[in-house]
Structures are given as structure tokens and as C-alpha cells.
């Protein structure tokens, strides 16, 4: 293998940070939610890479769970978005600031 597994981890970290930045800078709450998906997904790369390095499959099983949770979060999150849109007629993150201070 010419590509060290560490590179995969770095890539996963990069995607993770990108997801984080996405949450921060995005103004549309749908894309905010998408960014969290990105974050969760990035971890999968690390798991699979480690698995390959360790000669184990437990990491890949963990990926299953992460996928499940990502799906669950997406479901709940989208439900919330729909509800919010129905109440506010807007999906701007800036409008989502009634609770503060």
C-alpha cells in the first residue's frame, strides 16, 4: 500500500472541519443540517481506514451505527425544519433566534 492510512484520517479530519465550518457559516438551516451529515460521514472514513490497518471489522460495524444515527438525525431534523417552516415561513438561521441570552 503506497497510501498510508494516516492520510485517510487526515482526510476525515478535513471533512469534519469542513462540516463544522459549514454549520457555522451556512444561513439556510437545511444546509446546516446537511453539514452535520458531512461531519458524521467523515468519521466513517477514519473507521474504515483504521479497520484496514488493524485487520478488524469492528470499525466497519461502527460505521453502520453512525449511518443509522445520521439517518435518524436527518429524519428528526428534517421534521423539525418542516415544522419550523410551517410556523415561521422561513428557514433562515438568523430567524431562529427567539431563544437567546
Amino acid at each position: 500500500m503506497s497510501i498510508p492510512y494516516e492520510y485517510y484520517i487526515v482526510l476525515s479530519g478535513l471533512l469534519m472541519v469542513l462540516g463544522l465550518i459549514g454549520i457555522i457559516v451556512r444561513k439556510n438551516i437545511i444546509t446546516v443540517l446537511i453539514s452535520t451529515e458531512l461531519m458524521l460521514n467523515s468519521v466513517n472514513i477514519a473507521f474504515v481506514a483504521f479497520d484496514m490497518k488493524l485487520h478488524d471489522v469492528a470499525g466497519q460495524i461502527f460505521v453502520f451505527f453512525i449511518l443509522t444515527i445520521a439517518a435518524a438525525e436527518a429524519a428528526v431534523g428534517l421534521g423539525l425544519i418542516v415544522a419550523i417552516y410551517r410556523l415561521k415561513k422561513d428557514v433562515d438561521v438568523e430567524k431562529l433566534t427567539e431563544l437567546k441570552l
Partner: protein
């Protein structure tokens, strides 16, 4: 540069580029497509690594199922009119994100990662195949978390329904 390396660089570059579009892109539909692209690239990486099952699932669950959700929601929510990206948050988030990335990269590169402590070395994988190994383990040792995961999905489903449904359905006392 062997094929493997080529695949890695290609997939990873594309994944990162699409991820960047996910984060900064203007059009929300394209954003979702960029997400799909990222996910596919990541699954490509999985294939490169030899994790076929996970790679396939990635495409199935993620790139198809979840993204469909998003598309559905986007279709019910009229197109977002405001600015897509808030500049003043980029000011701080990008440098600090970069620092965090450096730290994570440092951890990734200099972490003393274990190797080859598991039993599924190439010989075993070749013998029984990745999917079978995963499946066996998943339905034996990891059966319990798997069941719980199903509970999570159940809860999420119920939640999505309750939260998303129309107002009139609030039920009265029988």
C-alpha cells in the same frame, strides 16, 4: 503511482471539493448534489480500502435514502432567498477551523496507531470475504447495539411523524 494511490487522490480530492461546495455553494439543490457527490467519493474510498459492504451501504443508505429526504424537504420548502453564507462568521470560523484541522492532522499523522492486532488479516478476508465477516460479527457480538440502532430509527421515525405532521392531528381524549 499505483492505482490505489491514484484512486485515493482522485476520490479524496473530489470528496473535498464537493464538500467545499456543500459548505459554501450557492444553490441549495446543487448543495445536495454536492453532498451526494461527496458521499459517493467517500464510498469510492471505502471500495479502495476494500470495505465493499460499507461502501455499498454508504451509497444505498446515504446517497440515496437520506438524500431523498432532503430533496423532499427542499421541494416543500420554497427556494431560500437570503444569502447562503454569512461572511462575518467565515472570518473566525475558517482560521480556527484551519487550526483545528492542523491539530487533527497532527493527531492523525503522529498518533501511534495500532496495526494488525485484529484477526481479519488479508488471508482471512480473502477466505470469507469482508461482507461475511462484518455480517457475522454484526449479528453475533454486535447484535445488541444493532437492535438498539433499530430502536433509534423507530424513535426517529415516530419523531419525524409527530413533529412534521399537521396541526389538526392532535388527538382528543377518547
Amino acid at each position: 503511482m499505483d492505482l490505489n494511490a491514484l484512486a485515493f487522490w482522485t476520490f479524496s480530492t473530489l470528496a473535498v471539493l464537493s464538500a467545499i461546495y456543500v459548505v459554501f455553494g450557492k444553490n441549495i439543490v446543487y448543495t445536495v448534489l454536492a453532498l451526494v457527490s461527496t458521499l459517493i467519493m467517500v464510498s469510492g474510498l471505502f471500495f479502495t480500502l476494500g470495505a465493499e459492504l460499507v461502501g455499498a451501504l454508504q451509497i444505498l443508505i446515504y446517497a440515496v435514502a437520506i438524500v431523498v429526504f432532503y430533496v423532499l424537504v427542499i421541494s416543500t420548502v420554497p427556494e431560500y432567498k437570503g444569502k447562503t453564507v454569512d461572511g462575518k462568521y467565515m472570518l473566525l470560523s475558517i482560521p480556527f477551523g484551519f487550526i483545528l484541522f492542523l491539530e487533527l492532522a497532527y493527531v492523525a499523522l503522529y498518533g501511534a496507531w495500532q496495526s494488525a492486532t485484529g484477526i481479519f488479516d488479508e488471508r482471512v478476508i480473502n477466505e470469507i470475504g469482508n461482507s461475511k465477516a462484518i455480517g457475522t460479527l454484526l449479528f453475533t457480538k454486535y447484535l445488541f447495539p444493532f437492535e438498539v440502532a433499530s430502536l433509534i430509527l423507530l424513535v426517529a421515525m415516530i419523531g419525524a411523524i409527530i413533529i412534521g405532521r399537521k396541526k389538526e392531528d392532535v388527538h382528543q381524549e377518547a
